[in-house]
């Protein structure tokens, strides 16, 4: 039977006169109408635009960052003097648990994914992420999860068993009440949100790159986000499994972690760290992408050793999964097993080293401009190398046993996480702020900001190495004066106040620049990648035409006038789908319009997650509303081309009619 649907046709390449201003204005107007961002209250909850969602994600993540930073300052104030009683032990337990939990789950991972949501479509030259409604859903699930746990803390029900919630401490016997349940469900919230974004990013990078952006031309930042997305996809199911088991043990009396009934407490540690170690790289790998973007732009040279860089990122992604037991060296696992994890933990310094050397080579060959983003990159290199070195020492089992659970470990992971992720991130915000808002951040404040953070950071965390050697354990709310830890703790607290001031200055600079900053040019830094080819801030449709990429440095290898894609419909949200390897055009595809359903679905999901802290009946109760909202979400809109006739199936004919 001959069917009425066409799937023939190949793209046509030709030379056309450059369109006049009137044509371009008409096109702009039509695209702006098609890709509108809805207004009003319902509109606010229906947005599916990746820039809006990305910005909300970034702002929300920074709000949690400030919240967790204030918690950290409270801890430092408590520890400033021996036998201090600013906080009581129970408050201290909740605060250090929440500090770690919020920083890891509500700040570090989401903020990196948020940058990806904002930047990946711009960098690969398309108009939105692959699954825009999933993106909206992800944001609201994340937001509601964060609100839940902050409210829990404010109601004195904050999790208090550490950010990794080891059983049996977090189990039903030793943590009655609902504190650990809120923690377990926060994990579910954030992982659902993160997994959704990961799938989006993989599909966007693989299938929506502008023609010409073959695999070997993908910007390093996009590679980093892609590898991160894969790590999320393979790592997060472990912690979701683990935290669900924890919740089930606490809620319906299963025995996964109960040794008396055949369960096992170390099972939790395996599940947690099989996620938890890759998690570090999930935070760190995007930061590597940020660093590459900044180094290339501020040296005006493509990064030295592109292929080596990509392979190093991929290697990090793989090896990151082979390290988890190094968090468990003190648990009495078989010696032979431990040696493997020591070796793997040391091996991962090789790809990191390759990248550091490639950046040094890039800086060496170029003429670096020492503006704020670049300062943060240099700060990153210094701090991260130190953190990497203390990491290599911790990979040795005898050394690890000596400093296990001391402040040495606290010093190490703050060097790696703040140095390795927060410094590049803040540099990245200075770098992309003009693109996102259309205004430059103050350079003068930026330099002060950098030095405050750099000095504050080192004054806070360097003494912790020594405190660790002196035997000061983690997670103690106070210590006796005779231990002699007072001076270094006081120094550390002073540093924390500097850090806090640096953070406040960053927020001040961002807010002030947003309101009164100098207007930014479209390409203020002479950037390398496609986001700089469009306006600052980008229009709702990102690009007037989908670009055609002519080289690895999309902006620097561009002919003038640059070649573009035409024939994408402008009266509906059509994007171009290309193939994975060569980014050759495959077909056009219509993305969905704004919709309230993803938000409603997120509300139901959240009610279910919060409800299941209290009762297993949350599941049966949630099923019907969940099915309704999902159906609403996926229900097809009146199609732009629905008639199963040959006329309707021929896009050319439709174009002619249009």
């Amino acid at each position: 039977m001959e069917h009425a649907f066409s799937r023939e046709g190949v793209p046509i390449e030709r030379v056309e006169p450059y369109p006049d201003e009137a044509t371009q204005t008409r096109l702009r107007r039509e695209l702006a109408r098609t890709w509108y961002v809805p207004r009003g209250v319902i509109g606010w909850f229906s947005v599916v635009d990746h820039r809006t969602i990305g910005k909300r994600y970034i702002v929300t993540a920074f709000a949690f960052f400030i919240f967790a930073g204030v918690l950290a300052a409270l801890m430092r104030l408590q520890l400033a003097f021996p036998e201090n009683h600013l906080l009581n032990p129970d408050q201290y337990n909740q605060i250090f648990t929440m500090h770690g939990t919020v920083m890891m789950f509500l700040f570090a991972v989401p903020v990196m994914e948020a940058l990806g949501i904002y930047l990946v479509p711009l960098m690969v030259g398309t108009r939105n992420v692959a699954f825009p409604r999933l993106n909206t859903y992800s944001y609201f699930v994340y937001l509601f999860g964060g609100i839940m746990v902050v409210v829990a803390l404010l109601l004195n029900s904050g999790p208090d068993a550490g950010w990794f919630a080891y059983v049996p401490l977090s189990g039903p016997d030793y943590s009655p009440g609902k504190r650990s349940d809120f923690w377990a469900q926060l994990i579910t919230f954030t992982e659902v949100a993160a997994l959704a974004v990961a799938v989006e990013i993989v599909a966007t990078v693989f299938k929506m790159r502008a023609p010409g952006m073959s695999l070997n031309r993908i910007p390093l930042f996009v590679w980093a986000m892609l590898i991160t997305a894969f790590m999320v996809i393979f790592a997060m199911p472990a912690v979701v499994t683990g935290s669900t088991f924890l919740l089930l043990d606490r809620l319906v009396g299963t025995h996964f972690y109960n040794p008396a009934e055949g369960g096992d407490t170390l099972l939790w540690q395996h599940l947690f760290w099989f996620f938890g170690h890759p998690e570090v790289y999930i935070i760190f790998v995007p930061a590597l992408g940020i660093v590459s973007s900044i180094v290339a732009t501020f040296t005006q040279r493509p990064i030295f050793g592109y292929t080596a860089m990509v392979l190093a990122l991929v290697a990090t992604g793989f090896i990151g999964f082979g390290l988890w037991v190094h968090h468990m060296f003190a648990t009495g696992l078989p010696q032979l097993g431990l040696t493997y994890f020591t070796a793997a933990s040391m091996i991962i310094s090789i790809p990191s080293g390759i990248q550091i050397f490639c950046w040094i080579a890039s800086i060496w060959r170029g003429r670096p401009r020492l503006q704020t983003p670049m300062l943060f990159v240099l700060g990153f290199v210094a701090i991260f190398v130190l953190g990497g070195l203390s990491g290599v020492t911790l990979a040795a089992v005898p050394f690890d046993l000596q400093v296990h659970d001391t402040y040495y470990v606290v010093a190490h992971f703050h060097y790696v996480l703040l140095g390795g992720a927060v410094f590049p991130l803040i540099g990245g915000i200075y770098f992309w702020f003009p693109k996102m808002t259309g205004r430059m951040m103050s350079e003068r404040l930026g330099v002060v900001n950098f030095w405050l953070l750099f000095i504050g950071f080192n004054v806070t965390f360097f003494p912790m190495h020594i405190l660790g050697f002196q035997g000061m354990p983690r997670r103690i709310y106070t210590y006796p004066a005779e231990m002699g830890w007072g001076t270094l703790n006081l120094v550390s607290t002073a540093g924390a106040l500097l850090l806090l001031a640096g953070g406040a200055l960053f927020v001040f600079n961002a807010v002030r620049s947003y309101v009164t900053g100098t207007a930014a040019a479209d390409d203020p830094w002479h950037g390398e990648t496609l986001e700089w080819s469009t306006n600052s801030p980008p229009p709702v449709y990102n690009f007037l035409h989908i670009p055609v990429v002519e080289g690895r440095s999309a902006m620097w290898n561009r002919s003038d006038p640059a070649p573009v894609v035409t024939g994408i419909r402008t009266d509906c949200r059509e994007v171009l789908i290309t193939d994975v390897m060569d980014a050759a055009p495959v077909h056009a595809y219509e993305l969905p319009n704004p919709s309230i359903w993803p938000f409603l679905c997120a509300v139901v999901t959240s009610a279910f997650f919060v409800g299941s802290v209290f009762t297993p009946w949350a599941l049966p109760i949630a099923i019907v509303p969940l099915a309704i909202t999902l159906t609403g979400w996926f229900w097809p809109k009146r199609p732009t081309r629905d008639l199963p006739t040959r006329e309707a199936a021929s896009p050319k004919l439709r174009e002619a009619e249009g």
Binding site: M1, H3, A4, F5, S6, E8, G9, P11, I12, E13, V15, E16, P17, Y18, D20, A130, F131, L195, V199, M208, I233, P237, A238, T241, L248, V252, T254, H255, F256, N258, P259, E261, G262, G263, D264, L267, L271, V548, P563, V564, V565, T566, G567, I568, E574, L576, I577, D579, P585, V586, H587, A588, Y589, A627, P636, P639, R641, D642, P651, E655
Partner: protein, 200 residues
């Protein structure tokens, strides 16, 4: 005014089946995530097995009648599933309607059989760790079957009410792919839940 090169993509189709299209990537992405969860749960099963002498500990083996019936049914469902996928890729609306309804009915029977399976497990989730992981493995799969039945039902309704577009056919095709995923996972889950207690 100067001239520029344009790549006119208007002759391209507006949809694509399989890995050329976007829906496939979303489907496969979630298959990988859910597959990772199955793998984790299976690893936990064998990890917990190592912790005790007897398996199942102080309990009878689960009964296999309904589970085996379900295995046969779910394996046989591959035939209508393949036919639905093929019909979708040929835009054969009549055949798509037929097979997607058949598949939905099979899915409903599978869910009912699954309900009966729980009565034969011979353990509760709170008996011991064996009971806990057995219930979780089975339920993890049940959630997938049930979700796909609802999903398939909605899709079937859409194929009758319209509007019929190429993309509905792509949806049917990718939905069939997802059903294969569910079928494929039932084999190891069935073996582990029902036969591992006998063999280990």
């Amino acid at each position: 005014m100067s001239a520029r090169t344009v790549v006119d993509v208007s002759p391209l189709p507006k949809f694509a089946f399989g890995h050329k299209g976007l829906v496939w990537w979303g489907t496969v992405g979630f298959m990988v995530i859910e597959g990772s969860m199955f793998v984790m749960a299976l690893i936990v099963y064998f990890y917990l097995r190592l912790k005790v002498q007897e398996w199942p500990p102080n309990l009878a083996n689960p009964g296999i009648t309904f589970a085996t019936m379900n295995l046969v049914l779910i394996l046989l469902s591959c035939i209508p599933n393949a036919l639905a996928k093929k019909a979708a890729e040929n835009f054969n609306l009549g055949a798509v309607r037929l097979w997607i309804v058949v598949l939905t009915l099979i899915g409903i029977v599978a869910v009912v059989l699954r309900g009966l399976e729980y009565t034969q497990l011979n353990t509760r989730w709170d008996d011991n760790a064996y009971g806990s992981i057995t219930w979780v493995l089975l339920s993890l799969h049940t959630i997938h079957v049930a979700t796909d039945v609802v999903d398939g039902g909605v899709l079937a309704a859409l194929m009758f009410t319209g509007p019929i577009t190429e993309r509905r056919f792509v949806d049917v095709s990718e939905n069939s792919l997802y059903w294969y995923f569910i079928v494929a996972w039932w084999i190891p889950i069935y073996l582990v839940v029902y036969w591992a207690p006998r063999w280990l």
